[in-house]
Amino acid sequence: MSADGKRIHVTWYASLREQRGISDESVDTLAGNAAVLFEELAEIHGVHMQRERVRFGVNDRIQPWNTPLQEGDRVAFLPPVAGG
């Protein structure tokens, strides 16, 4: 990995989990934020959802799409919610 490379733990939820086929994985990436990481992985794995519809969890809190990622972060990809 280059100086900017990092290992990120990814969790996919609900419809995104079904499209990805697994719920959890560790990835090595150069992506600087959660949205870029999502677009990278969605392209590789054929996951179809506009990035604007996805919310991002970083270390168990919902964060803006452009929150910088650090080595070892836990990133969650959250499709539009439907509680109640």
Binding site: Y13, D60, I62, P79, V81, A82, G83
Partner: protein
């Protein structure tokens, strides 16, 4: 039990009596509860069961934020909000909300606020299973 709050996801059936009894408080003249149940139709399709999937660690923070916002806006004593995960049948309780307050206006308003905010903010997803064998995630095809 002043200020006792419960905001949680649960994978076991919701027991309203237990939850409601914890809202009894000598300073509270009003208790308002909301019960959301699984119905057998949605958008014209016959629903036979639901699955709810949550993101528990993230939900814990969102619940805390929703609770703090409700406390800042309304004069309430106790708040309880429980949402099911897992497989639910028609008629099962999906969500239960209870508010105890000194006066009824705040209790009604806070209860309405909690269900509305929960639906917008809580990281939980609903998959409907239909009579015809099809299924689908709501809001995220």
């Amino acid at each position: 039990m002043s200020g006792e709050n419960v905001f949680k996801l649960t994978d076991v059936p919701i027991q309203p009596q237990e939850l409601e009894s914890a809202l009894e408080h000598s300073e509270c003249g009003a208790v308002v509860t909301f019960v959301g149940r699984v119905r057998d139709k949605n958008l014209g399709r016959e629903v036979i069961r639901l699955e709810y999937e949550g993101a528990p660690p993230i939900a814990a923070f969102e619940f805390a934020a929703i609770e703090a916002d409700a406390r800042a806006k309304f004069d309430v004593m106790a708040l309880r909000c429980v949402h099911r995960t897992g497989t639910l049948a028609i008629g099962d309780i999906a969500v239960w909300i209870g508010v105890a307050a000194p006066h009824r206006a705040a209790a009604f308003d806070a209860c309405r606020y909690l269900i509305d905010e929960l639906k917008q903010r809580l990281p939980i997803w609903k998959k409907e299973h239909y009579q015809d064998g099809d299924s689908g995630w709501i809001n995220s095809p």
